[in-house]
Symmetry: C2
Subunit: 314 residues, 2 copies
Protein backbone atom coordinates (compact mmCIF):
# COMPACT_ATOMS: atom_id res chain seq x y z
CA UNK A 1 0.00 0.00 0.00
CA UNK A 2 1.59 3.22 -1.10
CA UNK A 3 1.83 6.45 0.81
CA UNK A 4 0.14 8.24 -2.07
CA UNK A 5 -2.95 6.10 -1.73
CA UNK A 6 -3.14 6.82 1.95
CA UNK A 7 -2.85 10.52 1.32
CA UNK A 8 -5.61 10.38 -1.25
CA UNK A 9 -7.94 8.54 1.03
CA UNK A 10 -7.38 10.66 4.10
CA UNK A 11 -7.69 13.95 2.31
CA UNK A 12 -11.00 12.85 0.88
CA UNK A 13 -9.89 12.74 -2.73
CA UNK A 14 -10.43 9.04 -3.01
CA UNK A 15 -13.54 8.94 -5.22
CA UNK A 16 -12.53 7.99 -8.72
CA UNK A 17 -8.98 7.19 -7.77
CA UNK A 18 -9.16 4.56 -5.08
CA UNK A 19 -11.54 1.67 -4.69
CA UNK A 20 -13.79 1.89 -1.69
CA UNK A 21 -12.40 -1.40 -0.39
CA UNK A 22 -8.85 -0.13 -0.10
CA UNK A 23 -10.14 3.20 1.18
CA UNK A 24 -11.85 1.42 4.03
CA UNK A 25 -8.73 -0.59 4.72
CA UNK A 26 -6.69 2.57 4.90
CA UNK A 27 -9.08 4.23 7.27
CA UNK A 28 -9.17 1.19 9.48
CA UNK A 29 -5.40 1.02 9.62
CA UNK A 30 -5.16 4.72 10.36
CA UNK A 31 -7.48 4.36 13.30
CA UNK A 32 -5.67 1.28 14.45
CA UNK A 33 -2.29 2.96 14.48
CA UNK A 34 -3.60 6.20 15.91
CA UNK A 35 -2.38 8.04 12.87
CA UNK A 36 -2.62 11.82 12.95
CA UNK A 37 -1.68 13.83 9.91
CA UNK A 38 1.14 16.22 10.61
CA UNK A 39 -0.14 19.73 10.24
CA UNK A 40 3.31 21.21 9.77
CA UNK A 41 4.15 18.99 6.84
CA UNK A 42 0.75 19.56 5.36
CA UNK A 43 1.12 23.31 5.67
CA UNK A 44 4.58 23.20 4.19
CA UNK A 45 3.59 21.19 1.20
CA UNK A 46 0.24 22.75 0.44
CA UNK A 47 1.00 26.31 1.45
CA UNK A 48 -2.18 26.53 3.45
CA UNK A 49 -2.62 25.72 7.08
CA UNK A 50 -6.28 26.10 7.98
CA UNK A 51 -5.33 28.57 10.63
CA UNK A 52 -6.14 32.22 11.05
CA UNK A 53 -4.44 34.73 13.30
CA UNK A 54 -6.50 36.87 15.60
CA UNK A 55 -4.67 40.10 16.29
CA UNK A 56 -5.82 42.03 19.28
CA UNK A 57 -4.71 44.71 21.69
CA UNK A 58 -6.49 43.63 24.81
CA UNK A 59 -8.52 40.57 25.62
CA UNK A 60 -10.19 41.68 28.79
CA UNK A 61 -13.16 43.73 27.68
CA UNK A 62 -16.23 41.48 27.94
CA UNK A 63 -17.51 42.52 24.54
CA UNK A 64 -14.30 41.33 23.03
CA UNK A 65 -14.52 37.97 24.74
CA UNK A 66 -17.84 37.33 23.08
CA UNK A 67 -16.62 38.50 19.70
CA UNK A 68 -13.71 36.18 20.09
CA UNK A 69 -16.05 33.33 20.83
CA UNK A 70 -18.04 34.02 17.71
CA UNK A 71 -14.94 34.03 15.56
CA UNK A 72 -13.54 30.95 17.21
CA UNK A 73 -16.74 29.03 16.74
CA UNK A 74 -17.13 29.94 13.09
CA UNK A 75 -13.51 29.05 12.47
CA UNK A 76 -13.72 25.73 14.18
CA UNK A 77 -16.86 24.82 12.25
CA UNK A 78 -14.94 25.48 9.07
CA UNK A 79 -12.15 23.24 10.34
CA UNK A 80 -9.85 26.11 11.11
CA UNK A 81 -7.72 26.90 14.08
CA UNK A 82 -7.46 30.33 15.66
CA UNK A 83 -4.10 31.65 16.73
CA UNK A 84 -4.18 34.43 19.25
CA UNK A 85 -1.75 37.26 18.70
CA UNK A 86 -1.33 40.18 21.03
CA UNK A 87 0.05 43.17 19.20
CA UNK A 88 -0.27 46.89 19.45
CA UNK A 89 0.33 47.36 15.72
CA UNK A 90 3.10 49.77 16.61
CA UNK A 91 5.26 48.58 13.76
CA UNK A 92 2.47 48.75 11.23
CA UNK A 93 1.48 45.20 11.89
CA UNK A 94 4.10 43.52 9.79
CA UNK A 95 7.16 43.47 11.97
CA UNK A 96 5.78 41.78 15.01
CA UNK A 97 7.96 38.92 16.08
CA UNK A 98 4.90 36.87 16.77
CA UNK A 99 3.55 37.39 13.31
CA UNK A 100 6.93 36.45 11.96
CA UNK A 101 6.81 33.29 14.00
CA UNK A 102 3.58 32.32 12.38
CA UNK A 103 4.75 32.69 8.81
CA UNK A 104 3.68 29.67 6.86
CA UNK A 105 1.33 28.55 9.58
CA UNK A 106 -1.19 31.35 9.33
CA UNK A 107 -3.35 31.78 6.26
CA UNK A 108 -4.85 35.13 7.10
CA UNK A 109 -5.49 37.64 9.83
CA UNK A 110 -8.41 39.09 11.72
CA UNK A 111 -7.67 42.48 13.21
CA UNK A 112 -9.92 43.29 16.14
CA UNK A 113 -9.39 46.93 16.60
CA UNK A 114 -11.00 50.22 17.31
CA UNK A 115 -8.06 51.91 15.71
CA UNK A 116 -6.00 50.76 12.79
CA UNK A 117 -3.00 52.76 11.71
CA UNK A 118 -2.83 53.80 8.09
CA UNK A 119 0.50 52.11 7.86
CA UNK A 120 -1.05 48.68 8.40
CA UNK A 121 -0.21 46.37 5.55
CA UNK A 122 -1.23 42.84 4.85
CA UNK A 123 1.48 40.89 6.65
CA UNK A 124 3.40 38.65 4.32
CA UNK A 125 0.82 39.25 1.63
CA UNK A 126 -1.76 37.36 3.64
CA UNK A 127 -5.36 38.53 3.55
CA UNK A 128 -6.72 40.59 6.40
CA UNK A 129 -10.19 41.39 7.65
CA UNK A 130 -10.73 44.29 9.99
CA UNK A 131 -13.29 44.42 12.74
CA UNK A 132 -14.89 47.68 13.83
CA UNK A 133 -12.81 49.95 11.62
CA UNK A 134 -13.97 51.03 8.24
CA UNK A 135 -11.50 51.86 5.50
CA UNK A 136 -11.24 51.24 1.84
CA UNK A 137 -8.18 49.07 1.48
CA UNK A 138 -9.32 45.92 3.22
CA UNK A 139 -12.58 44.15 3.87
CA UNK A 140 -14.18 44.96 7.20
CA UNK A 141 -17.08 44.18 9.48
CA UNK A 142 -18.47 46.74 11.81
CA UNK A 143 -21.42 47.62 14.00
CA UNK A 144 -24.13 50.07 13.12
CA UNK A 145 -23.27 52.58 15.80
CA UNK A 146 -25.02 55.37 13.93
CA UNK A 147 -28.35 53.60 14.00
CA UNK A 148 -27.91 52.58 17.61
CA UNK A 149 -26.99 56.06 18.70
CA UNK A 150 -29.92 57.60 16.85
CA UNK A 151 -32.32 55.14 18.48
CA UNK A 152 -30.93 55.87 21.93
CA UNK A 153 -31.14 59.62 21.45
CA UNK A 154 -34.66 59.45 20.12
CA UNK A 155 -35.66 57.34 23.07
CA UNK A 156 -34.31 59.96 25.46
CA UNK A 157 -35.95 62.70 23.44
CA UNK A 158 -39.31 60.96 23.59
CA UNK A 159 -38.96 60.82 27.38
CA UNK A 160 -38.59 64.58 27.35
CA UNK A 161 -34.83 64.89 27.70
CA UNK A 162 -33.33 67.86 25.88
CA UNK A 163 -30.03 68.49 27.60
CA UNK A 164 -28.14 65.26 27.15
CA UNK A 165 -24.50 64.78 28.13
CA UNK A 166 -22.02 62.38 26.59
CA UNK A 167 -19.82 60.18 28.75
CA UNK A 168 -17.11 59.18 26.33
CA UNK A 169 -14.57 56.42 26.10
CA UNK A 170 -11.01 57.67 26.19
CA UNK A 171 -10.07 54.79 23.90
CA UNK A 172 -10.90 56.83 20.84
CA UNK A 173 -11.29 55.21 17.46
CA UNK A 174 -14.02 55.13 14.87
CA UNK A 175 -16.53 53.29 17.01
CA UNK A 176 -16.70 56.03 19.56
CA UNK A 177 -16.30 58.76 17.00
CA UNK A 178 -19.51 57.57 15.37
CA UNK A 179 -21.32 57.62 18.66
CA UNK A 180 -20.16 61.12 19.36
CA UNK A 181 -21.16 62.32 15.90
CA UNK A 182 -24.59 60.75 16.25
CA UNK A 183 -25.05 62.38 19.62
CA UNK A 184 -24.04 65.80 18.29
CA UNK A 185 -26.20 65.45 15.19
CA UNK A 186 -29.27 64.67 17.26
CA UNK A 187 -28.75 67.68 19.49
CA UNK A 188 -28.23 69.99 16.54
CA UNK A 189 -31.32 68.64 14.84
CA UNK A 190 -33.25 69.75 17.90
CA UNK A 191 -31.69 73.14 18.19
CA UNK A 192 -29.17 72.41 20.94
CA UNK A 193 -25.50 73.23 20.76
CA UNK A 194 -23.41 70.12 21.45
CA UNK A 195 -20.49 72.27 22.51
CA UNK A 196 -22.50 73.57 25.44
CA UNK A 197 -23.33 70.12 26.75
CA UNK A 198 -21.54 68.36 29.54
CA UNK A 199 -19.09 65.71 28.33
CA UNK A 200 -16.31 63.72 29.90
CA UNK A 201 -13.93 60.85 29.23
CA UNK A 202 -13.02 57.65 30.98
CA UNK A 203 -11.12 54.43 30.46
CA UNK A 204 -12.94 51.09 30.58
CA UNK A 205 -12.41 50.20 34.19
CA UNK A 206 -14.54 50.63 37.24
CA UNK A 207 -12.24 52.92 39.19
CA UNK A 208 -11.82 55.40 36.36
CA UNK A 209 -15.41 55.35 35.24
CA UNK A 210 -16.82 55.93 38.71
CA UNK A 211 -14.40 58.77 39.37
CA UNK A 212 -15.12 60.45 36.04
CA UNK A 213 -18.86 59.97 36.42
CA UNK A 214 -18.79 61.51 39.87
CA UNK A 215 -17.35 64.67 38.40
CA UNK A 216 -19.87 64.81 35.59
CA UNK A 217 -22.74 64.35 38.01
CA UNK A 218 -21.53 67.15 40.23
CA UNK A 219 -21.34 69.58 37.33
CA UNK A 220 -23.44 72.67 38.12
CA UNK A 221 -25.17 72.36 34.74
CA UNK A 222 -25.91 68.68 35.06
CA UNK A 223 -27.95 67.43 32.11
CA UNK A 224 -31.04 65.34 32.65
CA UNK A 225 -29.57 62.36 30.79
CA UNK A 226 -26.25 60.88 29.73
CA UNK A 227 -25.36 58.86 26.69
CA UNK A 228 -22.47 56.59 27.73
CA UNK A 229 -20.12 55.06 25.17
CA UNK A 230 -20.33 51.67 26.77
CA UNK A 231 -22.10 49.75 29.53
CA UNK A 232 -19.00 49.82 31.70
CA UNK A 233 -19.11 53.60 31.68
CA UNK A 234 -22.86 53.60 32.16
CA UNK A 235 -22.53 51.25 35.11
CA UNK A 236 -19.89 53.54 36.57
CA UNK A 237 -22.28 56.42 36.24
CA UNK A 238 -25.11 54.54 37.92
CA UNK A 239 -22.77 53.54 40.74
CA UNK A 240 -21.62 57.13 41.17
CA UNK A 241 -25.20 58.39 41.13
CA UNK A 242 -26.24 55.90 43.79
CA UNK A 243 -23.27 56.92 45.87
CA UNK A 244 -24.17 60.62 45.53
CA UNK A 245 -27.82 59.99 46.27
CA UNK A 246 -28.97 61.00 42.80
CA UNK A 247 -31.95 59.00 41.66
CA UNK A 248 -31.72 57.07 38.40
CA UNK A 249 -33.63 57.74 36.19
CA UNK A 250 -35.43 60.50 38.13
CA UNK A 251 -32.39 62.67 38.69
CA UNK A 252 -30.43 61.49 35.72
CA UNK A 253 -31.21 58.98 32.98
CA UNK A 254 -28.44 56.75 31.70
CA UNK A 255 -28.01 54.89 28.41
CA UNK A 256 -25.15 52.54 27.61
CA UNK A 257 -23.95 50.47 24.70
CA UNK A 258 -23.37 46.75 24.17
CA UNK A 259 -25.85 45.14 26.56
CA UNK A 260 -23.17 43.43 28.55
CA UNK A 261 -24.26 41.08 31.28
CA UNK A 262 -23.37 43.91 33.58
CA UNK A 263 -26.30 45.93 32.23
CA UNK A 264 -28.76 43.80 34.15
CA UNK A 265 -26.77 43.85 37.34
CA UNK A 266 -26.76 47.53 38.12
CA UNK A 267 -29.51 49.13 40.20
CA UNK A 268 -31.50 50.09 38.25
CA UNK A 269 -30.58 47.95 35.25
CA UNK A 270 -29.34 49.75 32.16
CA UNK A 271 -31.10 50.86 29.06
CA UNK A 272 -28.58 50.03 26.39
CA UNK A 273 -27.93 49.64 22.69
CA UNK A 274 -27.44 45.96 22.07
CA UNK A 275 -25.19 44.46 19.44
CA UNK A 276 -24.46 40.86 18.71
CA UNK A 277 -20.76 40.35 19.31
CA UNK A 278 -20.84 36.65 18.44
CA UNK A 279 -22.29 37.54 15.04
CA UNK A 280 -19.60 40.16 14.62
CA UNK A 281 -16.83 37.66 15.22
CA UNK A 282 -18.45 35.04 13.05
CA UNK A 283 -18.98 37.49 10.21
CA UNK A 284 -15.36 38.55 10.41
CA UNK A 285 -14.20 34.99 10.07
CA UNK A 286 -16.57 34.34 7.23
CA UNK A 287 -15.22 37.28 5.28
CA UNK A 288 -11.70 36.07 5.79
CA UNK A 289 -12.67 32.56 4.82
CA UNK A 290 -14.19 33.86 1.61
CA UNK A 291 -11.08 35.85 0.82
CA UNK A 292 -8.95 32.78 1.36
CA UNK A 293 -10.99 31.07 -1.31
CA UNK A 294 -10.30 33.86 -3.71
CA UNK A 295 -13.67 35.51 -3.45
CA UNK A 296 -14.12 39.19 -2.86
CA UNK A 297 -16.59 39.36 0.02
CA UNK A 298 -18.86 42.30 0.74
CA UNK A 299 -18.21 44.40 3.80
CA UNK A 300 -20.83 44.09 6.48
CA UNK A 301 -22.48 46.42 8.96
CA UNK A 302 -24.34 44.65 11.75
CA UNK A 303 -27.57 46.05 13.17
CA UNK A 304 -28.29 47.30 16.66
CA UNK A 305 -31.29 47.03 18.92
CA UNK A 306 -32.33 49.36 21.71
CA UNK A 307 -33.09 47.60 24.97
CA UNK A 308 -35.06 49.72 27.41
CA UNK A 309 -34.63 49.10 31.14
CA UNK A 310 -34.87 50.96 34.39
CA UNK A 311 -32.07 53.46 33.92
CA UNK A 312 -34.23 55.55 31.61
CA UNK A 313 -37.82 54.49 32.07
CA UNK A 314 -38.43 54.06 35.75
Amino acid sequence: MSQTTVSLVLSGKAPGRVSSATADAVRAAARELGYRPNAAARALRSGTASAVGLVVRDVTHPFFGRTLRGAQQAASEAGHVVVLIQDDYAGGGGDSSVQGLSEGVIDGFLFFAAKVPRSLREPGGRPVVIVEYEQSRMPFVRLDSEGGTAAAMEHLHALGHRRIGHFRSSAGGQTFGRRHDGWAAHLRAHGEDPDEQVTGFSAFDATSSIAAARELLQHPDRPTAFLCDDDLLAAGMVAAANELGIDVPGGVAVVGFDDLDLARLTSPPLTTVRFDPEALGAAAFELLHARLQGKRPKNRVLPSELVVRGSTAG
Copy 2:
Protein backbone atom coordinates in the same frame (compact mmCIF):
# COMPACT_ATOMS: atom_id res chain seq x y z
CA MET B 1 26.47 31.86 0.01
CA SER B 2 24.97 28.58 1.09
CA GLN B 3 21.60 27.98 2.61
CA THR B 4 23.22 26.32 5.61
CA THR B 5 25.16 29.43 6.47
CA VAL B 6 22.00 31.46 6.33
CA SER B 7 20.21 29.03 8.59
CA LEU B 8 23.06 29.13 11.07
CA VAL B 9 23.11 32.88 11.19
CA LEU B 10 19.39 33.41 11.47
CA SER B 11 18.88 30.83 14.16
CA GLY B 12 21.54 32.50 16.25
CA LYS B 13 24.01 29.66 16.12
CA ALA B 14 26.56 31.69 14.21
CA PRO B 15 29.27 32.19 16.88
CA GLY B 16 32.15 29.81 16.22
CA ARG B 17 30.78 28.69 12.90
CA VAL B 18 30.37 31.79 10.82
CA SER B 19 32.50 34.92 10.66
CA SER B 20 30.76 38.00 11.90
CA ALA B 21 31.29 39.65 8.54
CA THR B 22 29.28 37.08 6.61
CA ALA B 23 26.76 36.95 9.42
CA ASP B 24 26.17 40.66 8.99
CA ALA B 25 25.93 40.26 5.26
CA VAL B 26 23.33 37.54 5.68
CA ARG B 27 21.27 39.62 8.03
CA ALA B 28 21.45 42.59 5.70
CA ALA B 29 20.36 40.51 2.76
CA ALA B 30 17.55 38.97 4.76
CA ARG B 31 16.23 42.37 5.67
CA GLU B 32 16.66 43.54 2.10
CA LEU B 33 14.67 40.71 0.64
CA GLY B 34 12.07 40.75 3.38
CA TYR B 35 12.93 37.18 4.27
CA ARG B 36 10.72 35.47 6.82
CA PRO B 37 11.55 32.01 8.02
CA ASN B 38 8.77 29.57 7.29
CA ALA B 39 7.37 28.32 10.54
CA ALA B 40 5.81 25.24 8.98
CA ALA B 41 9.09 24.04 7.55
CA ARG B 42 10.88 24.80 10.75
CA ALA B 43 8.30 22.92 12.76
CA LEU B 44 8.44 19.99 10.40
CA ARG B 45 12.19 19.69 10.48
CA SER B 46 12.86 20.45 14.13
CA GLY B 47 9.78 18.82 15.60
CA THR B 48 9.06 21.86 17.73
CA ALA B 49 6.93 24.82 16.83
CA SER B 50 7.08 27.35 19.68
CA ALA B 51 3.35 27.20 19.94
CA VAL B 52 1.09 26.10 22.74
CA GLY B 53 -2.57 25.23 22.57
CA LEU B 54 -5.00 26.80 24.97
CA VAL B 55 -7.96 24.51 25.46
CA VAL B 56 -11.03 26.08 26.91
CA ARG B 57 -14.75 25.56 27.25
CA ASP B 58 -15.94 29.12 27.26
CA VAL B 59 -14.16 32.37 26.68
CA THR B 60 -16.73 34.79 27.95
CA HIS B 61 -16.30 34.79 31.70
CA PRO B 62 -14.30 37.93 32.57
CA PHE B 63 -12.01 36.03 34.89
CA PHE B 64 -11.05 33.80 32.05
CA GLY B 65 -10.27 36.71 29.77
CA ARG B 66 -7.72 37.98 32.23
CA THR B 67 -6.21 34.53 32.75
CA LEU B 68 -5.93 34.24 29.02
CA ARG B 69 -4.15 37.54 28.86
CA GLY B 70 -1.63 36.43 31.45
CA ALA B 71 -0.91 33.23 29.57
CA GLN B 72 -0.72 34.98 26.25
CA GLN B 73 1.69 37.57 27.56
CA ALA B 74 3.99 35.06 29.17
CA ALA B 75 3.98 32.97 26.02
CA SER B 76 4.72 35.84 23.75
CA GLU B 77 7.60 36.97 25.95
CA ALA B 78 9.05 33.51 25.59
CA GLY B 79 8.66 33.77 21.82
CA HIS B 80 5.72 31.42 21.72
CA VAL B 81 2.41 31.62 19.95
CA VAL B 82 -0.88 30.72 21.57
CA VAL B 83 -3.44 28.72 19.67
CA LEU B 84 -6.96 28.94 20.94
CA ILE B 85 -8.93 25.73 21.01
CA GLN B 86 -12.54 25.45 22.02
CA ASP B 87 -13.33 21.99 23.22
CA ASP B 88 -15.61 20.45 25.75
CA TYR B 89 -13.28 17.50 26.37
CA ALA B 90 -16.15 15.22 25.63
CA GLY B 91 -13.93 12.76 23.86
CA GLY B 92 -11.32 12.71 26.57
CA GLY B 93 -9.43 15.53 24.99
CA GLY B 94 -7.56 13.52 22.45
CA ASP B 95 -10.00 13.05 19.65
CA SER B 96 -10.96 16.62 18.98
CA SER B 97 -10.71 17.43 15.34
CA VAL B 98 -9.16 20.73 16.18
CA GLN B 99 -6.48 19.13 18.24
CA GLY B 100 -5.84 16.77 15.40
CA LEU B 101 -5.48 19.70 13.09
CA SER B 102 -2.77 21.12 15.24
CA GLU B 103 -0.66 18.00 15.31
CA GLY B 104 2.91 18.93 14.60
CA VAL B 105 2.24 22.60 15.12
CA ILE B 106 1.49 22.52 18.83
CA ASP B 107 4.16 21.68 21.36
CA GLY B 108 1.96 21.40 24.40
CA PHE B 109 -1.40 22.21 25.89
CA LEU B 110 -2.86 24.39 28.59
CA PHE B 111 -6.21 23.15 29.84
CA PHE B 112 -8.26 25.90 31.41
CA ALA B 113 -10.91 24.01 33.20
CA ALA B 114 -12.94 23.75 36.31
CA LYS B 115 -13.58 20.13 35.48
CA VAL B 116 -11.25 17.69 33.85
CA PRO B 117 -12.48 14.21 33.09
CA ARG B 118 -10.40 11.34 34.36
CA SER B 119 -10.16 10.07 30.86
CA LEU B 120 -8.13 13.09 29.77
CA ARG B 121 -4.86 11.98 28.26
CA GLU B 122 -1.93 13.92 26.96
CA PRO B 123 -2.91 14.44 23.33
CA GLY B 124 -0.37 12.98 20.99
CA GLY B 125 2.03 12.53 23.86
CA ARG B 126 2.36 16.28 24.21
CA PRO B 127 2.76 17.76 27.68
CA VAL B 128 -0.22 19.30 29.38
CA VAL B 129 -0.65 21.74 32.23
CA ILE B 130 -3.99 22.05 33.95
CA VAL B 131 -5.43 25.22 35.38
CA GLU B 132 -7.75 25.16 38.38
CA TYR B 133 -8.01 21.44 38.69
CA GLU B 134 -5.77 19.46 40.95
CA GLN B 135 -4.90 15.87 40.21
CA SER B 136 -1.83 13.75 40.40
CA ARG B 137 -1.13 12.81 36.82
CA MET B 138 -0.25 16.17 35.34
CA PRO B 139 1.22 19.42 36.56
CA PHE B 140 -1.32 22.01 37.57
CA VAL B 141 -1.76 25.56 38.78
CA ARG B 142 -4.66 26.54 40.93
CA LEU B 143 -6.01 29.21 43.24
CA ASP B 144 -6.05 29.01 47.00
CA SER B 145 -9.82 28.88 47.32
CA GLU B 146 -9.59 27.33 50.78
CA GLY B 147 -7.67 30.26 52.19
CA GLY B 148 -9.91 32.75 50.47
CA THR B 149 -13.06 31.09 51.69
CA ALA B 150 -11.78 30.90 55.25
CA ALA B 151 -10.89 34.58 55.21
CA ALA B 152 -14.31 35.53 53.87
CA MET B 153 -16.14 33.44 56.44
CA GLU B 154 -14.07 34.78 59.30
CA HIS B 155 -14.77 38.28 58.12
CA LEU B 156 -18.50 37.60 58.21
CA HIS B 157 -18.16 35.92 61.57
CA ALA B 158 -16.34 38.92 63.01
CA LEU B 159 -19.22 41.11 61.85
CA GLY B 160 -21.54 38.95 63.90
CA HIS B 161 -23.01 36.76 61.17
CA ARG B 162 -23.81 33.22 62.26
CA ARG B 163 -26.38 32.02 59.76
CA ILE B 164 -24.61 32.26 56.44
CA GLY B 165 -26.06 30.97 53.17
CA HIS B 166 -24.16 29.76 50.14
CA PHE B 167 -25.08 30.94 46.65
CA ARG B 168 -23.38 28.35 44.50
CA SER B 169 -22.27 28.10 40.93
CA SER B 170 -24.05 25.42 38.99
CA ALA B 171 -20.87 24.93 36.97
CA GLY B 172 -19.55 22.50 39.54
CA GLY B 173 -15.94 21.45 39.56
CA GLN B 174 -13.18 21.51 42.13
CA THR B 175 -13.01 25.26 42.44
CA PHE B 176 -16.53 25.54 43.71
CA GLY B 177 -16.31 22.32 45.64
CA ARG B 178 -13.48 23.83 47.68
CA ARG B 179 -15.53 26.91 48.39
CA HIS B 180 -18.46 24.84 49.51
CA ASP B 181 -16.28 22.69 51.75
CA GLY B 182 -14.68 25.76 53.30
CA TRP B 183 -18.07 27.25 53.94
CA ALA B 184 -19.37 24.08 55.56
CA ALA B 185 -16.23 23.63 57.64
CA HIS B 186 -16.50 27.13 59.04
CA LEU B 187 -20.11 26.64 60.03
CA ARG B 188 -19.40 23.32 61.70
CA ALA B 189 -16.46 24.80 63.55
CA HIS B 190 -18.92 27.26 65.06
CA GLY B 191 -21.59 24.78 65.92
CA GLU B 192 -23.90 25.36 62.96
CA ASP B 193 -25.25 22.65 60.70
CA PRO B 194 -24.50 23.44 57.06
CA ASP B 195 -27.38 21.26 55.95
CA GLU B 196 -29.81 23.58 57.65
CA GLN B 197 -28.53 26.65 55.88
CA VAL B 198 -30.07 28.21 52.83
CA THR B 199 -28.26 27.39 49.61
CA GLY B 200 -29.01 27.72 45.93
CA PHE B 201 -27.44 27.38 42.52
CA SER B 202 -27.10 29.58 39.47
CA ALA B 203 -25.30 29.81 36.16
CA PHE B 204 -22.92 32.68 35.45
CA ASP B 205 -25.25 35.05 33.73
CA ALA B 206 -27.24 37.97 34.96
CA THR B 207 -30.71 36.63 34.22
CA SER B 208 -30.17 33.36 36.04
CA SER B 209 -28.30 34.82 38.97
CA ILE B 210 -30.90 37.50 39.64
CA ALA B 211 -33.73 35.00 39.43
CA ALA B 212 -32.03 32.51 41.71
CA ALA B 213 -31.01 35.21 44.17
CA ARG B 214 -34.56 36.50 44.33
CA GLU B 215 -35.71 33.11 45.49
CA LEU B 216 -33.00 32.81 48.09
CA LEU B 217 -33.77 36.24 49.47
CA GLN B 218 -37.44 35.45 49.79
CA HIS B 219 -36.75 32.31 51.77
CA PRO B 220 -38.60 32.44 55.09
CA ASP B 221 -35.40 31.56 56.93
CA ARG B 222 -33.25 34.07 55.16
CA PRO B 223 -29.75 34.10 56.58
CA THR B 224 -28.05 37.35 57.50
CA ALA B 225 -25.28 36.85 54.96
CA PHE B 226 -24.49 34.98 51.75
CA LEU B 227 -21.22 33.61 50.48
CA CYS B 228 -21.45 33.71 46.66
CA ASP B 229 -19.25 31.53 44.49
CA ASP B 230 -18.38 34.39 42.20
CA ASP B 231 -18.83 38.13 41.77
CA LEU B 232 -21.36 37.61 39.02
CA LEU B 233 -23.57 35.71 41.44
CA ALA B 234 -22.91 38.23 44.18
CA ALA B 235 -23.83 41.07 41.85
CA GLY B 236 -27.00 39.22 40.93
CA MET B 237 -27.83 38.95 44.60
CA VAL B 238 -27.20 42.64 45.22
CA ALA B 239 -29.38 43.51 42.23
CA ALA B 240 -32.15 41.24 43.49
CA ALA B 241 -31.90 42.69 46.99
CA ASN B 242 -32.15 46.23 45.65
CA GLU B 243 -35.13 45.23 43.62
CA LEU B 244 -36.84 43.65 46.64
CA GLY B 245 -36.00 46.60 48.84
CA ILE B 246 -33.69 44.63 51.09
CA ASP B 247 -30.83 46.71 52.36
CA VAL B 248 -27.27 45.54 51.68
CA PRO B 249 -25.50 44.99 54.01
CA GLY B 250 -28.12 45.84 56.67
CA GLY B 251 -30.67 43.24 55.58
CA VAL B 252 -28.26 40.85 54.02
CA ALA B 253 -24.47 40.92 53.65
CA VAL B 254 -22.91 39.63 50.44
CA VAL B 255 -19.43 38.31 49.67
CA GLY B 256 -18.20 37.34 46.23
CA PHE B 257 -15.10 35.87 44.64
CA ASP B 258 -12.65 37.13 42.02
CA ASP B 259 -12.80 40.90 42.39
CA LEU B 260 -14.03 41.43 38.87
CA ASP B 261 -14.40 44.97 37.68
CA LEU B 262 -18.07 44.41 38.27
CA ALA B 263 -17.44 44.27 42.00
CA ARG B 264 -16.94 48.01 42.15
CA LEU B 265 -19.96 48.80 39.99
CA THR B 266 -22.73 47.37 42.11
CA SER B 267 -24.51 49.44 44.73
CA PRO B 268 -23.06 48.93 47.23
CA PRO B 269 -19.76 47.64 45.87
CA LEU B 270 -18.85 44.06 46.69
CA THR B 271 -16.68 42.61 49.38
CA THR B 272 -14.85 39.89 47.52
CA VAL B 273 -12.00 37.41 47.58
CA ARG B 274 -9.47 38.63 45.05
CA PHE B 275 -7.19 36.43 42.98
CA ASP B 276 -4.70 37.38 40.35
CA PRO B 277 -5.86 35.81 37.10
CA GLU B 278 -2.99 37.20 35.05
CA ALA B 279 -0.56 35.51 37.41
CA LEU B 280 -2.56 32.30 37.09
CA GLY B 281 -2.28 32.31 33.33
CA ALA B 282 1.37 33.27 33.36
CA ALA B 283 2.19 30.55 35.89
CA ALA B 284 0.40 27.98 33.77
CA PHE B 285 2.43 28.88 30.74
CA GLU B 286 5.64 28.85 32.72
CA LEU B 287 4.97 25.35 33.94
CA LEU B 288 4.32 24.18 30.44
CA HIS B 289 7.41 25.93 29.18
CA ALA B 290 9.49 24.18 31.81
CA ARG B 291 8.01 20.82 30.86
CA LEU B 292 8.83 21.45 27.24
CA GLN B 293 12.42 21.87 28.26
CA GLY B 294 12.39 18.56 30.00
CA LYS B 295 12.16 19.90 33.51
CA ARG B 296 9.67 18.66 36.03
CA PRO B 297 8.08 21.84 37.39
CA LYS B 298 6.45 22.17 40.76
CA ASN B 299 2.70 22.61 40.96
CA ARG B 300 1.60 25.98 42.19
CA VAL B 301 -1.20 27.31 44.36
CA LEU B 302 -1.74 31.06 44.07
CA PRO B 303 -2.75 33.15 47.09
CA SER B 304 -5.93 35.10 47.67
CA GLU B 305 -6.67 38.42 49.31
CA LEU B 306 -9.88 39.57 50.94
CA VAL B 307 -11.10 42.96 49.73
CA VAL B 308 -13.67 44.53 52.02
CA ARG B 309 -16.22 46.90 50.51
CA GLY B 310 -19.75 48.11 51.15
CA SER B 311 -21.63 44.86 50.66
CA THR B 312 -20.55 43.63 54.08
CA ALA B 313 -19.29 46.59 56.06
CA GLY B 314 -21.69 49.43 55.50
